[in-house]
Amino acid sequence: MLEIIKQPWSWYVAGILIGLTVPALLLLGNKPFGISSSLKHMCAACMPAKIPLFQYNWKHEAWNLFFVAGILIGGFVAGQFLGGNQPVHIAERTKEQLQALGLTDFSTLLPLDVFGTSQIFTVRGLIFLVFGGLMVGFGTRYADGCTSGHSIMGLSNLQWPSLVATICFMVGGFFSTWVLLPLIFQLF
């Protein structure tokens, strides 16, 4: 059994389990699935600074912080004990395209020549970690949700604004992949 779990999981097993998170949260306590809200609660808890968006009692939404803390622990468990840090078998074509951009490390879930701790104080780190992170945080809050809140929860509840958001997520991602990333990789 453990041997099976240690293999990479197929898309349909993952899809079903993630989809079941929607009813699990609803039935456990009427919680709509959504993860980017946790970032808002952290702002409200640590640095509300009289900003209207952060003026609420974040403790009432503490479930969301417990949920993301759980995700972090789950990541640790999978990485340490369930063989989660193996090389990812991406499509050969994608791998060739990434090599053409200059990537060399394909040994684990993230390319360490971009996301290794040695990159933190480099221009590369500044772009991939700081700029990328700012876009993720700013964009999800502006869009009022992320892949979980809009693309999974919102679409599950047939919300058309979530479909608009999801299409824009994808358009932004395609633009970033095909236009911005080649420019970024030319910088170093």
Binding site: N30, F54, L72, T94, W160
Partner: protein, 151 residues
């Protein structure tokens, strides 16, 4: 969105009331890593149309979620504490377009939406803590300039 469940709880119970969400999160984090959804390579593969994997994951999750919500509504299934299930509707504003595009750009660069950021850190990619802090800062900046942005 304010919910009512925890309002009557004194702070001392905060931990025990919310423990079940931590457990669910652990399970979820394991799925994230084991299905390689937290992998920057998988996100690149998705945007380069290299394989079906990510489309399969998200598509299946949406179908299962849709069916679940449909069944909960149709059979008026209540929560474990007997409440009627209420799902707040999503209101449209232009932020879903502008913000959606901005998040999409960040998604392809970081290879992560907010959930996978936490799983990546847990899996040992400590540099991603910088990404997470930046994402929190991005959220704060949105709050700071919210009134001046088109909605």
């Amino acid at each position: 969105m304010e919910t009512n469940l925890n309002k009557a709880q004194p702070n001392g119970n905060l931990f025990f009331v919310n423990l079940k969400y931590l457990v669910l999160g652990v399970f979820f984090g394991i799925v994230f890593v084991k299905a390689e959804i937290v992998s920057w390579f998988r996100i690149q593969e998705m945007f380069r149309l290299g394989a079906f994997h990510m489309y399969g994951v998200i598509g299946t999750a949406v179908l299962v979620g849709m069916l679940s919500v449909y069944l909960i509504k149709k059979f008026k299934i209540k929560t474990i504490s007997g409440e009627v299930v209420v799902i707040p509707p999503k209101k449209f504003h232009k932020g879903q377009i502008y913000g959606g595009l901005i998040f999409g750009i960040g998604w392809a660069i970081t290879g992560a939406c907010p959930g996978p950021l936490f799983a990546q850190i847990g899996a040992g990619f400590l540099a991603v803590m910088i990404t997470l802090l930046s994402a929190i800062a991005g959220t704060w900046l949105y709050g700071r300039f919210q009134s001046r942005l088109p909605h």
